[in-house]
C-alpha cells in the first residue's frame, strides 16, 4: 500500500504548528485580541479616513431661499447653489448624485426669524434637509450647511430650530454599513490574510531550508510535487485561521471604531449566497498568497531573508486594498483574472452589495489556476539543488 505523500506532509505541518502552544498563541489568538484592543482604542480617529478630500464646492438646491441664509451660503466658498425647475427635479438630481443637498425653507422663514430675533415669542419653522449620509460628498454638504444654520440658531432666543429632526437622510441603513465595509474591509481583510500567511510560510519553507531539515525529506522517494502541495494546503489552513482571528477582532471592534454610524452585527446584512461567495474568494486568495509566499521563501537562505523578500508584496496588497476605497466598482470581467486585485475587488463588491457571480467565478477559477502554477514552480524549486547547497 502506497501512502499519500501530500497527506503525510500536511499532517506533519499541522502537528508542527498545533503542538507548539506558543506558535498557536502568537499566530492565531494574539492577532485577533491585539487588533480588537488597538482598534477599540483608536476609536473615532478612523472616521477622518472616510472623508473625501475633493475640493469642488458642494451643490446645494435651496427652495424659498431666505435672505439671511442666502448671504451665509454665498459667503461660503464650499457651497454652490444650483437651481431646478421644481423640488421634485431637485430630489431626483440628489438621488442621481448630480446634487449633494436639498434644502427646503418655509416661505415665511425670514419674517419668523426677524420676529424671533427681535425677542417675540415666535416659533421659527425649521427647514427640511434632504441628503444621503452614506455618500461622502452629500454628508459633507449636509454637515457644512448644518454648521451654518446652527451658527444662526445660537442667536435665537428660546424657540430653537431643531433641524436634525427635520433632516431626512435618504440613505438606507444598509447603504451606510455597505459603504463603510466596502471601503475598509477589503484592505483590512487582505492585510490580515496576508500577515497570516507571512506568519507561517517563510518559517516552513526558508526555515526548513536554513535548518537543513528539508534535505532529510528530499533524500526519500517523496514526490516533490507532493511536498509542495502538502505544505501549501496545510499552511493555507493555518493562515486562514490566523486571518480569521484578526477578522473577528476587526468586526468586534468596528462598532466602537465607527461610533454610532453603524449597528453592531456587521455580517447580518450578508445573505447566504454572499457568505458563500465571500468564503470562496477568501479561500482561493489564501491559496494564492501562501503559494506565492512559499515560492519566494524557497529562494531565500534564511527566514530573515525570506521576510525581506516578501515585505514589498505586503505593501502591494495594501495599496490594492486602498484602490477600492476610492474607485466605484464596475470592473470589466477580465480584470478579475488578475490575482490579489480580483480578490480585493470581489470582497469590496460583496460588502458593498454590488457584485456578480460571474466575477466571483472568474476570480476563484483564476486564483486556483495561479495557485497551480505557483505549486508547479515550487515543485521545480524543491527539485533544485539550491535547496541543499544555498549557504548564507
Amino acid at each position: 500500500m502506497m501512502k499519500n505523500g501530500i497527506l503525510t506532509i500536511a499532517k506533519k505541518e499541522l502537528a508542527r504548528f498545533f503542538r507548539d502552544r506558543r506558535m498557536v498563541l502568537t499566530t492565531i489568538f494574539l492577532p485577533g485580541i491585539l487588533i480588537y484592543l488597538i482598534y477599540s482604542f483608536l476609536g473615532s480617529g478612523m472616521s477622518a479616513l472616510l472623508g473625501d478630500d475633493e475640493t469642488a464646492p458642494y451643490k446645494v438646491y435651496v427652495e424659498n431661499m431666505p435672505e439671511t441664509v442666502g448671504m451665509l451660503i454665498d459667503s461660503t466658498p464650499m457651497l454652490d447653489t444650483v437651481t431646478y425647475p421644481s423640488k421634485e427635479d431637485a430630489l431626483l438630481s440628489l438621488e442621481e448624485e448630480r446634487c449633494d443637498l436639498v434644502l427646503l425653507f418655509d416661505e415665511d422663514f425670514d419674517e419668523e426669524l426677524a420676529a424671533s430675533l427681535a425677542g417675540g415669542d415666535v416659533r421659527v419653522t425649521p427647514p427640511t434637509l434632504h441628503y444621503y449620509g452614506a455618500r461622502a460628498r452629500s454628508s459633507e454638504a449636509y454637515a457644512t450647511v448644518m454648521s451654518l444654520l446652527s451658527a444662526l440658531e445660537t442667536k435665537l432666543n428660546p424657540p430653537l430650530i431643531d433641524m436634525s429632526e427635520s433632516s431626512v437622510d435618504l440613505s438606507t441603513e444598509e447603504d451606510v454599513q455597505g459603504m463603510l465595509y466596502s471601503m475598509l474591509l477589503p484592505m483590512l481583510l487582505m492585510a490580515m490574510l496576508f500577515s497570516g500567511c507571512l506568519a507561517v510560510a517563510p518559517e516552513s519553507i526558508a526555515g526548513e531550508k536554513e535548518r537543513g531539515t528539508i534535505a532529510t525529506m528530499l533524500v526519500t522517494p517523496l514526490q516533490r510535487s507532493h511536498l509542495a502541495l502538502g505544505k501549501i494546503l496545510s499552511l493555507s489552513l493555518i493562515a486562514l485561521l490566523s486571518g480569521m482571528s484578526s477578522t473577528v477582532g476587526i468586526l468586534l471592534s468596528l462598532p466602537k471604531l465607527m461610533g454610532d454610524a453603524m449597528s453592531t452585527s456587521g455580517f447580518s446584512m450578508l445573505g447566504v449566497p454572499d457568505m458563500l461567495s465571500l468564503a470562496a474568494v477568501i479561500l482561493s486568495s489564501v491559496l494564492v498568497i501562501v503559494a506565492l509566499v512559499s515560492l519566494i521563501s524557497s529562494f531565500a537562505r534564511s527566514v530573515k531573508e525570506a521576510s525581506t523578500y516578501v515585505a514589498p508584496l505586503m505593501i502591494i496588497v495594501m495599496l490594492l486594498g486602498v484602490t477600492t476605497m476610492f474607485s466605484s466598482g464596475d470592473l470589466m470581467t477580465v480584470a478579475y483574472v488578475i490575482p490579489l486585485y480580483n480578490s480585493v475587488n470581489c470582497i469590496a463588491g460583496i460588502f458593498g452589495g454590488d457584485y456578480s457571480f460571474l466575477s466571483i467565478a472568474v476570480t476563484v477559477l483564476s486564483n486556483l489556476a495561479v495557485m497551480g502554477l505557483l505549486t508547479y514552480a515550487l515543485t521545480l524549486m524543491f527539485n533544485h539543488e539550491r535547496m541543499i547547497t544555498d549557504k548564507s
Partner: protein, 259 residues
Amino acid sequence: MEKILEVTGLKKTFTLSKKQQAIEKTKTKKRIAVNGLSFTAYRGEIFGLLGPNGAGKTTTLRILSTLIRPDEGDATLDGYSLKASPSEVRARIGFLTSENKLDEFFTPRYHFDFFSDLYGVPNDVRDRRRKDLFGRFGIDRFEEVKLANLSTGMKQKTAIAVSLANDPDVIIFDEPTNGLDVLTARTVTDFLLELRNRGKTVLLSTHIFTLAERVCDRVGIIIDGQMVKEGALSDVIGDEKTLEDAFFSLYAARKVGEE
C-alpha cells in the same frame, strides 16, 4: 563479488558566492569539488571514502544520494542510474550526513513514523523495525522526548535509526562518528559491522584513518576531488605500517607531482 554501486566520472563544480569568496580569500569564482571521480562498491562490504577536509567526500555522497546533480558522469545503484531514475535510487538507500537535520521539535518516534510514511512502509513493518532499531540503540526509553531535549549522541543515534526506516540495501554515512564520544562512536561502528554481516552495503566517508582501518573492507582515497587510490584495505596500506602512513606517502607524491 556483485557490484552494487558503480560510480563513473563524477564531476561537480560550485560557483562561489561573493561571501564565500571573501571568507576563503580567493578571487576564483569556480570551485571544483569533485573532479572525475570513479569507484565501485560491492554488495555486503564496507567501503570507506577517505580524504582530508575539503577533498570532496560530502559532495560525492550528496550526489550519490541524489540531493545534487553531477555536472558530468553518473552512477548506477543496483542497476538504477542516478540521473535517469532518482526515485528508484532514493527508495534503496539510507543517507546520513551532519548537514541533514531532523526537526528538533519532534520526538524520535514521531520522526521514525513520519519517514516510514514517506517511504511508504506498511504500519506493522514500521512498528517492528522501530522496536528493533530503537532497542538496539537504547532510544526506546527516550522515544517520546523531543529531540531538542536529547543529548548529541542520542540525536545521532535517532538520525541513524531514521535513515534506516526503509531497510535500505545501500547505506551511505557521511562522517557518522563526528562529534561523538568514544563510547557512542564505538556503538555506531559496531553497528556498521553488524549491518555488513547482515548483507548490507555500507559506503562510509571519514577523515579518521584508524576508524577506516578498523571497519572498512575496501577504501578509496580522495584528494582534491580525485580518486588517487582505490582497493582492498591491505592493498592500499601496502608496505606502509598504517593506513595513515599510506595516505601521507600518497599525499606527498601527489603534491610533488603537482609542482
